[in-house]
């Protein structure tokens, strides 16, 4: 099989950052080429160059043997390049069908009028192909994040593409949808279409990749055939060292002291939710997409008012009217959607990190600058946040580093209860390991942690107890020891 695509010697700089340095890769037609590497390694940037969003400083794109210079996305699309972006890009007010076919609407004759019948009919076909049962006329804003992610996938595969770039397409979906996606990728391969697949999930990569390229600090570390590699080798290529066991089990015994009790909680999409959280415990919440986990967390954290129910923190019944109140009761939360609800992208790393704990870092009404700088420097080191400086705008950080800033912000409030909603979404394996060991440490020091995750390996690996949600109800409570994916999935689906 010949090479469909070649990226030759690509370099790209942003203000203060050298994102890519002489990167070359070749992609064979009808193959899946995985791109891996730490957060900020330059994967997305490389793909945005291929997609016509960024212009390279140096280097060339060769597609089907011809050198191409894409002046914009449209150009790249017409040449047969299609991309699923790492960041979701929904148009909330348009319908699902309009979102999928944006930029390629079927028209009536040559009039410029949209053929809505054809549009919806085609959308139905695509939706069926990705196994999503929603009407094409539904507005995008009514979808959950996971559903939006599936729509992005639908959008990319409905282009007449020769190369489809998938930048972390599974970061928001559960295993059922992953299976659907991989089925589709299989079909694409059979049709001779190449897929460039970016992910931080080892198991996925090994399941579908033919070739793996690892990047670090804007350079290619190496390209191998997937079957030549094993897990440990891949990890050491990525992080430059080998990692110890990803998950560490609890060292101290649970004291049984209750931190949080939730009774009869009811919201828009969940009912009759009971659970308790103990000191030093990591409590997992598993479930399919849209099973209501995020909304429960929001209710506990004061972001949404529940319709009914009681929340008791350390024996005191609390009214969670706002996140501030929840914080005053010792609760902190890291949101699943860091761009929307987590970070102030126009502000700096330092400003974001201290936003929740600013009153602790101030004298009277004034921010104590020296103390703030000191704290921020310390936290940046602790979580290995790679940013040019504490004053860099968060918007220019890689996704993983943004996530670390969000976690640091929550922890600076010194919570006794920490809610983590999909905390490792989009995070590289090294950072994941850091977050896991940090969670363990925090729990060992007495914090109660709620971990909402769609990644079953981490639920199984780190949690002391797991609650499974199914369509807004608690369907099972499982012990941390000795559970497997199948058990969880059974309770989650039924």
């Amino acid at each position: 099989m010949g090479d469909l695509l070649e990226l030759r010697n690509i370099s790209k700089s942003f203000p203060g950052v050298r994102a890519l340095e002489g990167v070359s890769i070749k992609v064979a037609s009808g193959s899946v080429h995985a791109l891996m590497g730490e957060n900020g390694a330059g994967k997305s940037t490389l793909m945005k160059i291929l997609n016509g969003i960024h212009r390279p400083d140096e280097g060339s794109v060769i597609l089907e043997g011809r050198e191409r210079v894409f002046s914009g996305v449209r150009d790249a699309m017409e040449a047969g390049v299609s991309m699923i972006h790492q960041e979701l890009m929904p148009l909330p007010e348009l319908t699902v069908a309009e979102n999928i076919f944006l930029g390629k609407e079927p028209v009536l004759g040559r009039t410029g009028f949209v053929d809505f019948r054809k549009l919806n009919a085609r959308a139905s076909i695509v939706l069926e192909r990705i196994g999503l049962d929603i009407p094409p006329e539904r507005r995008m804003k009514e979808l959950s994040i996971a559903q939006m992610q599936m729509i992005e996938i639908a959008k990319a595969i409905s282009n007449d593409a020769k190369v489809i770039i998938m930048d972390e397409p599974t970061s928001a979906i559960t295993s059922r949808e992953v299976d659907v996606l991989f089925g589709i990728i299989g079909q694409l391969k059979a049709d001779g279409i190449s897929v460039i697949y970016i992910s931080h999930k080892m198991d996925e990569v090994f399941r579908i990749a033919d070739t793996i390229t690892v990047m670090r600090d804007g350079r290619v570390v190496g390209t191998r055939r997937a079957e030549e590699l094993d897990n440990d080798e891949l990890i050491s290529m990525m992080v430059g060292r080998s990692l110890n066991a990803l998950f560490k089990k609890r060292v101290t015994a649970l004291s049984g002291e209750r931190l949080l009790k939730v009774e009869g909680l009811e919201g828009d999409h969940f009912t009759d939710v009971h659970f308790e959280l103990y000191k030093g415990e990591i409590l997992g919440f598993a479930g399919l997409m849209g099973s209501g986990r995020t909304e429960i967390a929001n209710a506990v954290f004061g972001l949404e008012r529940p319709h009914a129910g009681r929340i008791t923190v350390e024996g005191k019944t609390c009214d969670m009217g706002s996140p501030r109140q929840a914080m005053d009761h010792g609760i902190a939360m890291v949101n699943e959607d860091r761009k929307m609800n987590g970070l102030v992208l126009t502000s700096s790393v330092a400003e974001n990190m201290t936003l929740s704990s600013l009153t602790d870092l101030s004298t009277w009404i004034f921010v104590d600058h020296a103390r703030e700088t000191e704290v921020v420097k310390r936290e940046m080191l602790r979580y290995r946040i790679s940013a040019p400086e504490a004053g860099s705008k968060v918007v220019n950080l890689s996704g993983g580093n943004q996530q670390k800033v969000a976690i640091a912000k929550a922890l600076l409030t010194k919570p006794r209860i920490l809610i983590l909603d999909e905390p490792t979404r989009g995070i590289d394996i090294g950072a994941k390991a850091e977050i896991y060991s940090m969670m363990r440490e925090l729990a060992d020091s007495g914090m109660g942690i709620i971990l909402i995750s769609s990644e079953l390996p981490e639920i199984i690996g780190i949690c002391d107890r797991v609650i499974v949600m199914n369509k807004g109800r608690v369907s099972a409570e499982l012990p941390g020891e000795g559970i497997d994916e199948e058990t969880i999935l059974r309770h989650a689906m039924v």
């Binding site: 969003i53 449209r74 148009l91 348009l94 944006l102 410029g112 009028f113 949209v114 959008k155």
Partner: protein, 313 residues
Amino acid sequence: MKEANIGKERFYRRYGVLLSFIIIFSVLALTTPGFLSLSNLTTVLRQISINGILAVGVTFVIITGGIDLSLGSTVALAGVTAALFARQGGDALALPLIAGITTGLVVGLVNGLIVTRGKVAPFIVTLGMMTILRGTALVVSDGRPVSNLSNAFNAIGGGDLMGIPIPILVFLAVVVVSHVILDRTVIGRYVYATGGNEKAAYASGVDTDRVKMFVYVICGAFAGLAGIVLASRINTGQPNAGVSFELDAIAAAVIGGTNLSGGIGKVTGTVLGVLIIGIINNGLDLLNVTSYYQQIIKGVIIIGAVLIDRNKR
């Protein structure tokens, strides 16, 4: 119960403006003698036509997340230009019409270019243009009203066609064309997409710069048209006409549910917004409310209309 709730929200989202309109209309109909007469309602329609044309035009711009503060000055400049040709051109109508609309088009083009190429915020571009165009209108007319216009030209604002005043017909044409563009065409989809999430639209292959050019040009062209209608209504190209027209137009669009941060808006909503402002102005005059209190009441109703409709979004 939850379903009912959702239903209610939907209802508000779709019909909130209509509700505001119906309430205000009913109150006026009940309290104001003469309000419901056919001749009065025709008067209202004629009165709103200029603001209506502008409001529909600016709806396009606002949906993309932009704004156009140069509308009022464009009206003045286009009116003056059209009048200059209507004076020289005998009874020929084509020349003044072309001159007025072209003026608007060019203004829109310049606005669009500075916004897209210069990457300057639309608020500041069109604010600057507002002064520039006002100055240009004064230069072109030498600071004096341009008058002695041809009868044919004056007939645009004063005449009717089948009993319907021409300004109303022009407004209706603008409404229909705009509604079709926004609701049915590909470029209409792109307008919403660009305003809803510019990055996403761009990443989907939409040429967002071209879309923005399009909306400023169409808004400018409509403003040119409004300038012609105005000049012919007052038989003069008035260089100081149209001051703060843009605010009424934007208010109408927003009352009608157009979202200033982009992505949301409908021509039908804007028309309702225009009607609301129109009947308030008319009703307060009919009720003989002192002009100072008129201003207060008008402000209250504008805010109130949006409050009733606040469930939007």
